[in-house]
């Protein structure tokens, strides 16, 4: 499913970037770790930014404060989106993700579970 130049793949990648940047393992998240997907969806829906970098920064800061992890692979993933998408497309992607934050998070979680169990399509 896609809208204009936006693909669901990019939308899920953006959510994954945010998820990977939050240091969920930190003790500060002990009480809310169970609800991490709910928190992620809610904060993404409420997030803002004029480009992807600003959007990611704002959402991650909103969730994690300074409990942030930035790895080489996350940096590469952000770079990939920045180079592939124009400013206009980045804004479109942000709007797309914000509007579908809840279902996209569900899909990400379900697909991760399938990957973990080595499952492929099976309808």
């Amino acid at each position: 499913m896609a809208m204009g130049g936006i693909s669901d793949g990019d939308a899920k990648r953006l959510i994954e970037i945010i998820d990977n940047m939050v240091n969920w393992a930190d003790r500060a998240f002990n009480a809310i770790r169970m609800d991490k997907w709910k928190i992620l969806a809610k904060r993404i829906m409420a997030g803002s930014g004029t480009d992807i970098q600003e959007f990611v920064h704002n959402v991650v800061r909103d969730i994690a404060g300074d409990k942030v992890l930035l790895s080489k692979s996350v940096g590469d993933a952000i770079n990939d989106l920045l180079t592939r998408l124009s400013q206009e497309e980045q804004l479109e992607l942000i709007r797309y993700v914000k509007r579908r934050a809840y279902p996209l998070v569900v899909r990400l979680v379900a697909e991760k579970a399938a990957e973990k169990s080595g499952e492929e399509g099976g309808a």
Partner: protein, 503 residues
């Protein structure tokens, strides 16, 4: 039935009658098979039959082809009266009234089933009806159904010439006289649907702030239509009274209220009468109020839902308030399916090949133009589709129609795939549907009293959630999951429940 285009209609009908006679031969001892075969073969060609208005003679079909559309709404009540009886019209002026309407419709469908079952038994000796569609490839191009009758049960097995992808599919419909609610089981390629007669013959429609339950009935101008229709109308009247009594016997209704309720509820439920200048107003809907609902206003927090700041209510709102009050710590969701709307249709890919196969053999088959017209007769089935949609995720309801989401133990991946994709095969067409429902729900947080929340047939909110409502737009974004394997599907279900805060 295969029908070369150039055969005159009379010959076609005569051939059809002979074929029906052969199919019905096993019922010779119980039935005037000659008469029934004539009716089966020719009833669509009788001028008085309203089906003629949407199924013109073959020579008119080409002229009509350009006019069909996928989303033809059912006719106006005036036209509907020719083929159905208005069993009940209920006001939905307030969320509480809508909740009582849901309770009433639930019981009325059971009572209507009794009415239909009694009529079928007495007039036609029919107690149960069992239809079995068997999808398989066979030669020659068509095969006759098997019909048998035993001890009031009519059994029909219909072979469906199928493309390879549907080979082995068996769909069984059982129409039963004493069923309390529909049920569905899917076992690989074997699907069984247990229905009440009323599920296939009655349907609600919402218009403005009113919900009307229609029950299909014989057309007066056709055969014994007048007599049967009058008989059904009387039975429906009785069914309505019994359904009201059923509601009053629910355990949430205080015994001291029953006499007053019995007197006021029928009229107040069907007709909304605003309170006069000197009369007490219902705090929930503004109708004339006769019952006290609470000691003070302090309990209520939904100020915007209170119509009049007093502590009085009309009969329907009082009844719903008491039931909610008695149950608010428990199951918080009541869903009454309404007819679904088809919003996209495509022809099953392999069917094109099948038609080509017929054509190369010099056979043409009569089939609907694409897409077929949706008529009032499909409304009950459209409602059943909404029921299946919700049945995919909801437990069986309790006596109040209150329910919760299924536990993972009862989770059915095949049904949940349907919930996500909403694709329905009306062979050979594949429809995508938009389910409809009247939803009553309330929050259970704290000790404060929230007025029942409701989303009447918005065709937008699918399930209300404490965190966020699951909408059709969200469901569209979730649809790709329908193609995934079992682990993904299960994980998706648990995640949806948790992040939306669904009950």
């Amino acid at each position: 039935m295969p029908a070369p285009d150039n055969i005159p209609i009379q010959r076609l009908l005569s051939e059809a009658k002979s074929r029906f006679k052969a199919i019905l031969a096993s019922l010779d001892a119980d039935l005037d098979t000659d008469k029934v075969a004539e009716i089966c073969a020719g009833h669509h060609h009788v001028r008085e039959n309203p089906i003629r208005e949407i199924e013109p003679e073959r020579d008119e079909v080409s002229a009509m082809a350009s006019a069909v559309s996928v989303e033809v709404r059912i006719p106006l009540p005036k036209e509907l009266k020719r083929i159905a009886i208005n069993v009940a019209s209920l006001s939905l002026k307030s969320p509480y009234r809508a909740f009582v309407a849901s309770l009433f419709i639930r019981r009325l469908l059971n009572r209507l089933n009794e009415s239909y079952a009694q009529l079928f038994q007495e007039k036609f000796g029919l107690r149960e009806l069992h239809i079995k569609y068997v999808f398989r490839q066979f030669e020659p191009f068509s095969e006759d159904p098997n019909v048998s009758y035993e001890d009031g049960g009519l059994y029909v097995e219909i072979p469906v010439r199928s493309p390879p992808s549907l080979e082995g599919l068996i769909i069984e419909h059982h129409y039963l006289p004493t069923l309390e609610r529909p049920s569905l089981s899917i076992n690989g390629r074997h699907v069984e649907l247990n229905l009440r007669f009323s599920d296939a013959l009655a349907f609600p429609i919402i218009e403005g702030e009113e919900i009307t339950l229609w029950a299909l009935a014989p057309v007066e101008a056709l055969g014994r239509g007048q007599e049967l229709r009058a008989r059904l109308a009387a039975a429906f009247e009785e069914a309505r009274e019994k359904a009201l009594e059923d509601i009053l016997s629910l355990s949430g209704v205080k015994s001291e209220l029953i006499a007053n309720m019995r007197e006021l509820l029928p009229e107040e439920l069907s007709e909304y009468k605003p309170a006069g200048p000197e009369e007490p107003k219902c705090m929930f809907c503004g109708a004339r109020a006769s019952f006290r609902v609470a000691k003070s206003l302090e309990r209520f927090v939904d100020v915007d839902r209170i119509v009049a700041f007093n502590i009085m209510a009309c009969a329907p709102c009082k009844l719903a308030y008491d039931i909610e009050n008695a149950r608010r710590a428990g199951a918080p969701l009541c869903i009454t399916p309404l007819p679904a709307t088809p919003n996209a249709v495509e022809l099953l890919g392999e069917f094109e090949t099948l038609i080509q196969d017929f054509r190369t053999r010099g056979i043409s088959i009569l089939t609907h133009q694409l897409p077929p017209v949706k008529t009032a007769l499909e409304e009950p089935w459209a409602r059943i589709l909404s029921w299946i949609f919700y049945h995919a995720v909801l437990r069986d309801p309790d006596e109040f129609g209150l329910t919760m989401l299924k536990s993972l133990k009862d989770f059915d991946a095949a049904l949940f795939r349907f919930f996500l994709a909403r694709k329905v095969m009306l062979y050979p067409f594949i429809f995508t549907i938009r389910p409809g429902a009247m939803i009553s729900a309330w929050t259970t947080t704290g000790k404060k009293k929230f007025v029942l929340n409701l989303d009447v047939a918005s065709e937008f909110v699918v399930l209300p959630g404490a965190e966020r409502d699951l909408t059709l737009e969200d469901l569209d974004a979730l649809t790709p999951l329908a193609e995934k394997g079992k682990n993904s599907i299960r994980k998706a279900y648990t995640t949806i429940r948790s992040i939306y805060g669904l009950g």
